[in-house]
């Protein structure tokens, strides 16, 4: 999937992955896609809750050997 912005939060623990994601998404225009990469398993559920609450759209997420990748489309 193509992203307009990639936020690399590998090696960071809570709350930093979501702090970075928030900063990232603030730079985007509505409809653009952010890719977030994190290695903190604890941030996965939090990230999903945050996306739901902010009404951005989680397009895809996957895990590969302890690396979690999320694609989020910024809300209108």
């Amino acid at each position: 999937m193509k992203a307009d912005l990639t936020v690399d939060a590998k090696g960071l623990s809570c709350p930093m992955p979501i702090v970075r994601a928030k900063k990232g998404i603030d730079q985007l225009n509505a409809g653009e896609v952010m890719e977030l990469i994190t290695t903190d398993p604890g941030s996965v559920k939090d990230f999903q809750s945050w996306v739901n609450q902010t009404r951005h759209e989680l397009l895809e997420h996957r895990e590969d050997g302890g690396v979690y990748t999320f694609y989020v489309k910024k809300a209108e």
Binding site: S13, C14, P15, I18, V19, G42, D46, S49, W50, T54
Partner: protein
Amino acid sequence: MAVYNLSAEQLRDKMNKGESLFILDVRNEGDYEDWKIEGKTIESLNIPYFEFLDDEDVADDRLPKDKDIVTVCAKGGSSEYVAEILDGKGFRAASLDGGMKAWSQVYNTILVHEEEQLKLYQINRLAKGCLSYMIFSKGEAAVVDPGRHLDVYTELAAREGAKITHILDSHVHADHISGGPALAKKTGADYFVTTSDLQGTPPFAYKPLEENKHIHFGDVEVEVLALETPGHTPGSVSFFINKRFMLSGDTIFVGGLGRPDLGGKAREWAEMLYDTVFNQLNDLADDVLVLPAHFADLSEINEQGIVGERLGTIRRNNKAMQTTEKAAFTEMVAGAASTETPPNYEAIIAINRGEKSVGEEEATELEIGPNRCAVHHHG
């Protein structure tokens, strides 16, 4: 700017003193609903930390200005982040260092009974609701249902000037990793558990409770009688001490009975539990003090901070224990067990049977969460 961090032990001590505290838990809603810090003098509120990212004022009108606020998350990072925001606004906020992970490893030791030849302590792992016991007599000590943080027991034994000689598990636990085999290795004490619960030959030495129904230690006789009380697991036992204290394992709790469904044979084990309750325990006097291996609700903690109740009172208050008709009892108990099981219980049982071993980090992760061992029949 750095905010004040409160250690899990400091939080425990404040709770023991009855200090009134306001807990702001900043984990996501699901984790909070599942498992949280509770106490009789604690007020608690859940606002996930990521809500503060969009609006730092999000909690302002819901937080007290005149009370100490303790922020809590899974490991301590997000709670510190929120505590800093609150501190900047003039709230009296401190963050729980190490979060729920640290809280899950805190133990609280309370003296239940003391006389010349016998001292009985209840050791409460507050976050998980796990209870273990130490019984002292004439320089010797028995440990019942120990958790895996061995220092708690060796330090208490050192303070009492006693040697740990006996370690007993009431059953193979499903909700926490037993400290029994490791403590036996460390102290040279004998480890007792039922063979029927182990289901195979473990890699550690043990003495089967089936063949050791009368255990003595101390100069003066302190009798630990293993009553077979199956139900929760097929090899569950209770320990009856000096015919006055019943360390009931997961068979009888202050507020309910042990759930019989964790072995996949709910009905069969519920029938065994019926026989335990109505045949084996029938002759025990009403004034026997029942001291279980768990609590699930704060109401099970009494005025002295002890989780324990007279058998007569439990009999009167427990609906299942008044259901003398076997079919109805089985239906009630087998049907009432929650669909939510103790987190990671299959892995934990395998570890306790010696079929699997894990390091410290993985052990801590596996044990995160509540115990979920009881069938609830309050009122």
